[in-house]
């Protein structure tokens, strides 16, 4: 692991940096079978992750977060799916890698934790075997050593009596434990990048906090970079250095966590923040939900997809499509953003 560069001022640079671990450029994914109109799920998505950095990808259901993750992993089905743009990992273009070479990277360099811990574990295979097979796939160890390491991993994710648990089946574990097992499996080979796709969504609120804590600790311990995909701004607040907010398949705002929470500029981000309770507002203050539903979008080609639900909508919004503009402190895709409140206090930078 190379030494991490600690930067006083988090960069938002688009330019190629030598210390970038994952660089996603103009990622576009569209689904469609022959003869049918294709649907664009993700478009113009670009972001960087530096070694050890924690980046959030936030958006509601259907905003293209998971598709982005699967596209990075090269796990989208081949048929009926078109992927554009580039995904570079440590300087290698993942999209031009052969399938075998990509498989070598998966699970060892880049690992992923999925949303549903029940269905992501094989129900008829013991968790011990599921852990061991990853270790043995990527490293030359014998069965015994793999089992020992599996036990250590389970202990590290906070599963009591790991020796016994190794012989158990997924349905014998609780939801939280299963997610811990998935985290253990993902971290088994010391990945440099961990993609966590809504790892806590399927869990109880109390368990969510525990699992996030485990994830946070282990990611810090192993120096892995983290791409956290979530719809939960609370998770972002606790875990991420930088945040990309997605809406209808495109990034609409991208900045550091502190800036995002202190002064959201995109009306969508602002709406998200206003729709969750905050400690710095008086009790009883009504929450302001975002009007409408995510289904009310217009195609990006005809304007801003968020326009139908936007409080700040101006005529331009439904005439031309806004581009992702680089501002001093963030990237923003909006014609009529919320006012900058750079001097706002109360949030540590």
């Amino acid at each position: 692991m190379p030494e991490m560069t600690v930067q006083a001022e988090p960069t938002l640079g688009v330019g190629r940096r030598t210390d970038v671990l994952l660089s996603v450029r103009d990622l576009a994914v569209s689904f469609g079978l022959r003869g049918q109109k294709s649907v664009t799920a993700v478009d113009e998505v670009s972001f960087d992750i530096r070694p050890g950095q924690h980046v959030g990808l936030v958006g509601e259901s259907g905003s293209g977060k998971s598709v982005t993750a699967l596209a990075i992993m090269g796990l989208l089905p081949k048929r009926g799916v078109e992927v554009g743009g580039t995904v570079e990992y440590a300087g290698r273009d993942l999209r031009s890698l052969r399938e075998q070479d990509m498989a070598e990277l998966r699970g060892s360099d880049i690992a992923m934790v999925f949303q549903d811990p029940m269905s992501s574990l094989n129900p008829v295979v013991t968790i011990g075997i599921q852990l061991e097979e990853v270790i043995r796939r990527h490293e030359k160890v014998d069965k015994r050593e793999a089992r020992d390491r599996a036990e250590v991993l389970l202990r590290r994710v906070g599963i009591p009596d790991p020796g016994r648990r190794l012989g158990e089946y997924p349905h014998q574990l609780s939801g939280g434990m299963r997610q811990r097992v998935l985290i253990a499996i993902a971290l088994a080979c010391g990945p440099k990048l961990l993609i966590a796709d809504e790892p806590t969504t399927a869990l109880d609120v109390t368990i969510q906090a525990q699992v996030l804590e485990v994830l946070k600790e282990l990611v810090a311990e192993t120096d892995a970079a983290l791409l956290m995909i979530t719809h939960d701004l609370g998770v972002v607040a606790g875990l991420c250095d930088e945040v990309n907010v997605m809406y209808a398949g495109r990034i609409v705002e991208s900045t550091t966590r502190a800036r995002l929470f202190a002064a959201p500029r995109h009306p969508y981000t602002g709406g998200l923040l206003e729709s969750i309770p905050r400690l710095d507002k008086p009790r009883g203050t009504p929450l302001r939900p975002i009007p409408g539903s995510p289904t009310q979008t217009i195609p990006w080609t005809e304007g801003c997809a968020f326009a139908p639900r936007c409080r700040n909508k101006i005529d331009q919004c439904t005439e031309t499509s806004p581009a992702l503009e680089k501002l001093a402190d963030r990237k923003l895709r909006c014609f009529n953003p919320l006012p900058a409140e750079a001097d706002r206090n109360g949030v540590d930078e």
Binding site: M73, L75, K78, R79, A103, E104, L105, R106, G107, S108, A111, M112, F114, D116, M118, S119, S120, L121, N122, P123, V124, V125, I129, E133, V134, R137, H138, E168, Y169, H171, Q172, L182, I185, A186
Partner: protein, 314 residues
């Protein structure tokens, strides 16, 4: 001729009631079966059948097909139950009980061998087609389609007709009847396993296994197969019943075992035909033997299916 099982019948589920906790899939199924009267009846019949088939020689002091007492049989009378022959004699003058007992052995061997043959070939074809189809990409789809079209052709031919044709081609011997009944079962197993493997191929854990970089072969053999094999095993139990009936049917049609010294239920029915008016038990007894055995395997198979089906777990 076969009972269709929904491909997802075995997909283990998310339920874990208190009782289920700490219990593996198969052990849980066993527990549920123990509480199910149907399963117990089926299991008892199957067990009884197995015991009779295996320990047959201990249950009788006579030899099958001996025709020892043929002098007592006349065109108008077949001696009924007596002190020495508690089910009487058959129309050739052999002990009826001995014929039935040894017939059980024949049925078991034929049923198991032919089902095993059908299962092996069918499951192999289904596994290849399903494995390639599930995660093999474009080439895999091609392999899957090619195999399944051949299987479809087999399926289009009625199984008994197929069995008759094979028996006719291979001649009248015991192997041809096993092969005939076995081959007729191939498409069932092939389609069943392929279907459940394709279904499991869409499961999240397959995607997750891909995200761990596991090799495709490993994913198919280590993950997709174990989750898909259950319905096929259940089907094999059910098919044993069908196989026993089909073996009897083929024997009845004169395509089975040629050696008259070998007792066989289907052939006993043929022999009983022209004495039905004087001694109906000659047909009724082997008929009951066939029906009860088939019923036993069917009940057992159905109960097994239910016990493994997540939707019927209570």
């Amino acid at each position: 001729m076969s009972i269709q099982i929904p491909p997802a019948a075995l997909a283990p589920d998310t339920l874990d009631s208190e009782e289920e906790h700490g219990v593996g899939l198969w052990r849980g199924a066993f527990r549920r079966m123990r509480r199910n009267p149907t399963a117990i009846v089926g299991a008892l019949i199957v067990l009884g059948f197995l015991l009779v088939a295996i320990f047959g020689p201990l249950l009788t002091s006579y030899q099958p097909g001996s025709a020892e007492w043929s002098g007592q049989v006349t065109p108008t009378s077949v001696p009924g139950p007596s002190e020495n022959h508690w089910l009487g004699l058959d129309r050739f003058g052999s002990d009826m009980w001995t014929q039935l007992v040894y017939g059980a052995r024949q049925s078991l061997v034929y049923g198991v061998v032919s089902t095993a043959l059908g299962l092996t070939v069918g499951a192999a074809l289904g596994a290849i087609a399903g494995g390639f189809g599930a995660i093999g990409g474009r080439f895999g789809t091609w392999v899957d389609t090619a195999i399944m079209r051949v299987v479809d052709i087999m399926l289009a031919i009625p199984s008994l007709l197929l069995a008759v044709s094979i028996a006719a081609v291979l001649g009248q011997n015991k192997y041809s009847i096993m092969i005939a009944v076995g081959v007729a079962q191939v498409p069932i197993f092939a389609r069943l396993l392929r279907g459940s493997m394709l279904g499991q191929g869409q499961a999240d854990y397959v995607l997750a296994a891909g995200a761990l970089g596991l090799r495709k072969r490993r994913i198919v053999i280590g993950h997709v197969m174990p989750n898909s094999i259950g319905p096929t095993i259940v089907q094999a139990t059910l098919n044993l019943a069908t196989a026993i009936i089909e073996v009897a049917a083929l024997s009845y049609l004169g395509l089975g075992e040629a050696d008259p010294a070998v007792a066989e239920w289907g052939r006993m029915l043929v022999a009983a035909q022209d004495r039905f008016d004087v001694a109906p038990r000659l047909a009724i007894l082997p008929g009951i033997a066939i029906a009860v055995t088939a019923l036993g395997f069917t009940l057992f198979g159905e109960a097994l299916r239910e016990a493994l089906d997540p939707r019927t777990r209570k």
